[in-house]
């Protein structure tokens, strides 16, 4: 009897959900499906041909780089021409709206440029493992899933797929001690933070019985909150929220949980560092904005406090600790911690202006960092050595203004922008952020932010000083800048310089997507 009932209901159900999944969901998930499939096919292509004896074991890395760039472009096109704008997919585990499309576009854009600028590096340093590019592709596609996840399960799975790719990437250079150390450190702390995240999820699930973000929002607002309070499960949910928040702060390297990032960013190979520094920030901020503004908006007082503290600490540490750095990648790691502090300041406002400021800042941050790394990844010649080393210490930049004036000027402008000097994009984004903080009465935050920004000017401008006024210990000059890097430098520099003249489109888009999130 029971069996019969079950069979009947399944038969009644099955055709509808099948057609639903194939007709609608797959269509709206085309970008993700395409990117994962492309990565898998490239994997097969790479492994079959690179081990083939007839073809004389070709090194396919450059080839696969270009193909994956093509795949990213196609994914971007698919994303732009997506048939649906708003949808809940795969049994409410994935969501598509304006916000996710914007962040996905940003992710694809930045990961495209991260691969694009490392083409020359890969050729010069002869990293012969084509898998590294495919891992970048896999992590990109997992980040696409991460941004559009609307459920704790899909969130956690996407985060793990992304982090697993990253652990492997950090330890890519097997013969370098720093790289293996970076991989190990990243793995341990990443696994630990994922554990915290998962514990937060399980607490919330245990006390509400729901893993879906929008359903959680419905539970935490209004009438049901009283039921939760009487059964004392609201504090437990709050605890779960704090665990989630800590896991999230770990992942984005905000200050009390930042200790792994300088070592990992320093040790990992430079293209991988560029990827770590630029791309996951957008994805993680995207999904956590969604969780905290949609599901946990009623816990705004506790999370705002935590975010405020973390933001202030990150800004202070980012500006102070970078002062004593001599290695440029480490310096950039600390500077990115500072930038995360500014981003969190926008998050802590919890208002539409705050989110808009955060998104603008994120956009500008990505552009500035792509520019930085396009510069760092260029090959350099030292007088004393035959090899082609990269910029490692900040003193390597000495006298660059004489040997490569245009490049030095580009670098100077980017540095000024990072420091927040007026006519540049970095200034605009910071100013907008502080306005948002002021308008939501976070005066202390705004004042500390401005002070830290002034402090951080010191080390950004010190680099410029080294380039223009310091004599070199041993002569270094850049070899010919590869076309890809030159193009990237030009595009991003154009954006940085001329953003202030026409910021309207970005403003409108970010306002629109901030509205999507807050509705």
């Amino acid at each position: 009897m029971l069996l019969n009932l079950r069979d009947d209901s399944l038969i009644a159900l099955s055709p509808s959900y099948k057609t639903f999944l194939f007709d609608n969901d797959f269509q709206s998930l085309f970008p993700e499906i395409f990117l994962s499939t492309a990565a898998i096919l490239l994997l097969v292509y790479g492994v079959v041909f690179s081990t083939s004896k007839q073809k004389n074991y070709p090194l396919l890395l450059t080839n696969i780089c270009w193909l994956s760039l093509l795949a990213l472009v196609f994914t971007f096109l698919l994303l732009v021409n997506s048939p649906v704008e708003n949808a809940l997919l795969c049994y409410n585990t994935l969501i598509i709206d304006n916000f996710t499309s914007f962040i996905k576009g940003l992710i694809l854009f930045s990961s495209f440029f991260c691969i694009f600028i490392s083409l020359d590096y890969i050729k010069q340093e002869s990293i012969n493992a084509f898998e590294c590019i495919l891992l970048l592709l896999f992590s990109t596609s997992s980040m696409l899933f991460l941004v559009s996840s609307a459920d704790f399960i899909s969130l956690y799975l996407a985060i793990e797929l992304q982090s697993l790719c990253f652990y492997v990437l950090a330890a890519l250079k097997r013969n370098s001690e720093f790289s293996t150390e970076a991989g190990l450190k990243y793995f341990l702390l990443g696994a630990f933070s994922s554990g915290l995240l998962l514990f937060g999820c399980s607490l919330i699930y245990g006390f509400t019985g729901v893993t879906n973000f929008s359903e959680l929002a419905r539970i935490f607002t209004g009438g049901t909150q009283e039921i939760l309070t009487t059964t004392t499960s609201l504090p437990a949910c709050e605890l779960g929220m704090v665990f989630l928040l800590v896991g999230f702060l770990f992942k984005i390297t905000a200050v009390p949980f930042h200790m792994w990032s300088p070592d990992v960013y320093e040790g990992a190979p430079t293209p991988v560092t560029a990827f770590f520094l630029i791309v996951p920030k957008a994805a993680l901020f995207g999904v956590f904005l969604r969780i905290f503004l949609e599901s946990f908006y009623d816990f705004v007082l506790p999370w705002q406090k935590i975010l405020l503290v973390s933001s202030i600490c990150s800004m202070i540490l980012g500006s102070v600790a970078a002062l004593s750095q001599t290695r440029i990648k480490r310096l950039l790691a600390y500077s990115s911690i500072g930038h995360v502090g500014y981003l969190l300041a926008g998050f802590a406002c919890g208002t539409i202006e705050g989110i808009q400021a955060l998104l603008i800042y994120l956009f500008v941050y990505i552009f500035m960092n792509i520019n930085m790394f396009a510069f760092i990844l260029c090959g350099m010649r030292r007088e004393t050595m035959q090899t082609v080393p990269r910029i490692k210490y900040i003193t390597d930049l000495a006298y660059l203004a004489k040997t490569q004036p245009v490049l030095a000027l580009t670098f100077t402008i980017t540095m000024f922008s990072m420091a927040g000097i007026p006519p540049l994009a970095g200034f605009y984004s910071k100013a907008y952020l502080f306005f948002a903080a002021m308008s939501s009465n976070l005066y202390v935050l705004a004042v500390i932010g401005v002070l830290c920004s002034v402090c951080s000017c010191f080390y950004y401008i010190r680099l410029v000083k080294i380039m223009y006024f310091e004599g070199p210990k041993n002569w270094c000059s850049f070899s010919r800048i590869p076309v890809e890097n030159a193009l990237t430098l030009a595009i991003t520099l154009f954006f940085i310089v001329f953003f202030m003249f026409y910021p309207t489109p970005l403003h409108l888009i970010t306002h629109k997507i901030a509205l999507t999130l807050c509705m």
Binding site: R6, D7, L10, S14, Y17, K18, L21, I40, L43, V44, V47, V48, T51
Partner: protein
């Protein structure tokens, strides 16, 4: 769950029995150890060098592959049991999973992870 009680009792008896078997020889056997007797056995010679040696990475590879394919079986098990209920949709979902795993397998095959020569 009640059927596990039998297995639990069986497990207790089995461990008791094995402890007895070890214990009997421990109690009744003669123990006279001398340096020759407790030294490491290397075909009658004295040990040539330190016991610590390089470990072949192949063992790790095999262990990792085992873990992966063991997990695959864990996923296959509920699928195999409910195949009459999940229909073609369930069937093809699992096929996608298997295809992805197979591609992983092709990868490791071509890379020579299964080569023991």
């Amino acid at each position: 769950m009640i059927e596990f009680v039998g297995i639990f009792v069986y497990f207790l008896i089995a461990s008791a029995l094995s402890l007895i078997l070890v214990g009997v020889s421990f109690v009744f056997a003669t123990k006279k150890s001398d340096p020759e007797k407790i030294s490491a056995y290397e075909c009658g010679f004295d040990p040539f060098d330190d016991a610590r040696s390089r470990f072949d990475i192949q063992f790790y590879l095999v262990a990792i592959l085992f873990i992966i394919f063991d997990l695959e079986v864990t996923f296959l098990f509920p699928w195999a049991l409910t195949l009459n209920q999940v229909g073609f949709f369930g069937f093809w979902s699992m096929m996608v999973f298997l295809i992805i795993l197979t591609i992983g397998f092709i990868y490791e095959w071509r890379k020579g992870a299964l080569d023991w020569s």
